[in-house]
């Protein structure tokens, strides 16, 4: 698919996103994928790691931005930094493990050694380098910009551009809400990662309130089986009170809270299990009531957190208990890492239930996400037949309400969220 020329003006790939429609080449064309890496993933702020993955000095974790391997390390000075995982000598990856604690990274090839703050501190047999060899200029290459919002570290490979606060915009409020199920407003990614892949485009991992009754029919059947009523079937229809919301900047969310109720010991329509009617459940509620002022407000914060269903464009989602990270690797291959976020400073039983709730829907053998994956793969296959390449994204286009602040709100089944993401895509890919 060539770059389009409209009225003599180069508009890049943005002409592939139309009013209520999208051209399927953005999901299938490898040259467009290469441009996405450059213009989106190697330019915009992307989520990299959470502070709880490197809690102590010397802790490191290995992450990626697009195809680049990145080391995130908390130096012995306590400062978190991020570097390209590439020896300055011949380019070998210096960090092999996904996480650990190390004072330095030593390249296995010729023994070049870097401190966990980045500088090159050791070169074997240095006498054979000339006098102009500048060791101090050969430290690990740092990521241009690294910043964090409430423990969530984001990276940008662009030297300048909008700051992280500006990038996150209204999405920050929902990151706040995600944390508020903890009485100390902390989450910890220390329970491992559910790692999955699919043969399909990264943009399929979107936000869609319309697919639930069909893709996740079995989840709804299980909820009916468990609760004995069919309330959950009513959460995602054109008559449900729930919402799709475009927050601007490609960030968007589903609001499923309008059919959710929180009460100790009572089953829930959310994907997170109920608060158990046990000592631990009551202790949790008491801690929350103390933090937030009243039991009613504690319930409200718990409900608010578990109903967070947020996409932080382009590669982060916060859904219920999950921090989900999208790793684009080709136009038709994507990896998704799901981290169950444990709550800080709550009884162990609360986090144990969170894990079991997480596994119920998520992961490669869960009852929910494998069916999403199946649909993504069939989608990628279906799109190959591009005789009629335009896909329909007009659901709720005329009915959705544009509020005074520019936020767009539609019914839960509207394609407000997809238009949010793809509108931002068009802007970035211009």
């Amino acid at each position: 698919m060539p770059v389009a020329i409209v009225e003599g003006q180069d508009v890049g790939y943005s002409s592939l996103i139309g009013e209520g429609r999208v051209h399927s080449a953005i999901f299938t064309d490898q040259s467009i994928f290469e441009a996405e890496l450059e213009r989106i993933f190697y330019t915009y702020w992307v989520f990299l790691a959470h502070e709880s993955e490197v809690p102590e000095p010397g802790d490191y974790c290995r992450k990626s931005i697009g195809r680049y391997s990145i080391v995130v390390a908390r130096g012995t000075d306590g400062v978190v930094r991020a570097f390209f995982n590439r020896c300055r000598h011949r380019g070998t990856m210096v960090c092999r493990y996904e996480h650990g604690n190390a004072e330095f990274f030593r390249c296995p090839y010729h023994g070049w050694t870097y401190s966990n703050r980045g500088p090159l501190i050791g070169v074997p047999f240095p006498s054979r380098y000339g006098v102009d060899f500048e060791k101090e200029k050969l430290g690990l290459v740092p990521i241009a910009r690294l910043d964090q919002y409430r423990g969530f570290y984001f990276a940008s490979l662009a030297d300048d551009g909008p700051g992280l606060t500006e990038h996150l915009g209204r999405a920050a409020t929902y990151i706040d809400m995600f944390l508020q199920a903890s009485p100390t407003e902390k989450v910890e990614l220390r329970a491992g990662a559910s790692k999955s892949n699919f043969h399909g485009n990264w943009k399929f991992v979107g936000m869609d309130g319309y697919h639930v009754n069909f893709t996740h029919k079995t989840v709804q059947d299980l909820q009916v089986r468990r609760t004995g009523n069919a309330e959950s079937l009513k959460s995602n229809s054109d008559r449900a009170p729930n919402l799709t919301v475009d927050l601007g900047g490609g960030h968007c969310r589903l609001d499923l809270s309008l059919t959710d109720r929180v009460e100790i010991g009572k089953a829930t329509s959310s994907l997170i299990g109920e608060i158990p009617d046990t000592d631990a459940g009551h202790e949790y509620l008491a801690l929350m009531a103390e933090r937030w002022g009243s039991e009613a407000e504690a319930y409200e914060k718990i409900r608010g957190s578990r109903d967070v269903h947020l996409h932080v464009w382009p590669n982060l989602q916060l859904i219920g208990s999950e921090v989900r990270v999208i790793r684009p690797l080709s136009s038709s291959y994507t990896e998704v890492f799901g981290y169950p976020a444990l709550l800080g400073d709550v009884p162990d039983e609360i986090n144990e239930r969170r894990l079991r709730g997480y596994e119920w829907f998520n992961g490669v053998a869960g009852f929910g996400t494998p069916d999403d994956r199946e649909v993504f793969e069939r989608n990628q296959l279906g799109l190959q037949a591009d005789k009629e390449p335009w896909m329909v994204l007009s659901r709720g286009l005329t009915q959705a309400e544009v509020q005074a602040d520019g936020v767009v709100v539609g019914n839960i089944t509207d394609e407000v969220t997809q238009r949010s993401q793809l509108g931002q895509w068009a802007k970035a890919m211009r």
Partner: protein
């Protein structure tokens, strides 16, 4: 019939136990490969735990995510889901063939039997062939001339790699 004979009828020799376990694992494999979910569920004890660890081979599952950590209630849900229409990730179902070998059987406490074995599983679905290797650990409870599963742990070699669709029975 002497007293010794009566004893041996109660407690089989290690050789007999190995044969019984082997027959049980073959029968279980057949049920899983053939997607006979309800029949497979019959093999489980009501306090059974079906565990497929994630990222590491062993840890406290109360503090770390698992690929599967099913108690009996969730096993029932798993089978209910697979039996119902709409489980797209098993529609069509995976074609499965597994070999279980290298079995080590040892009598455990309270009459239970500990089993360690290796598994090679080949899955064909949607034009793709996947091979999974795993170490298996069972705790079996004698039940007549067969067993009920009290714990089954499936340690996949690639439990720390990005995986695809593991919605069939492991």
């Amino acid at each position: 019939m002497g007293e010794g004979d009566a004893m041996s009828a109660v407690a089989p020799s290690l050789g007999e136990l190995r044969d019984q376990v082997s027959a049980f694992l073959v029968a279980e494999s057949e049920l899983m490969d053939q997607h006979r979910y309800d029949d497979w569920l019959e093999l489980w004890s009501a306090d059974g735990i079906y565990w497929v660890p994630c990222n590491e081979d062993d840890y406290d599952p109360r503090q770390h995510v698992s690929i599967i950590y099913d108690d009996y209630g969730r096993l029932q849900e798993r089978c209910f889901r697979l039996n119902s229409a709409g489980a797209h990730s098993q529609d069509p179902p995976s074609r499965l063939c597994r070999i279980i070998g290298n079995q080590q059987v040892s009598p455990g406490s309270a009459g239970h039997v500990q089993v360690r074995a290796n598994m090679i599983l080949v899955e064909v679905r949607s034009g793709e062939k996947n091979t999974y290797g795993a170490r298996l650990e069972y705790e079996l409870q004698p039940d007549g001339d067969s067993f009920k599963i009290r714990q089954k742990k499936v340690i996949l070699l690639d439990n720390d790699e990005p995986l695809g669709n593991l919605t069939f029975l492991l």
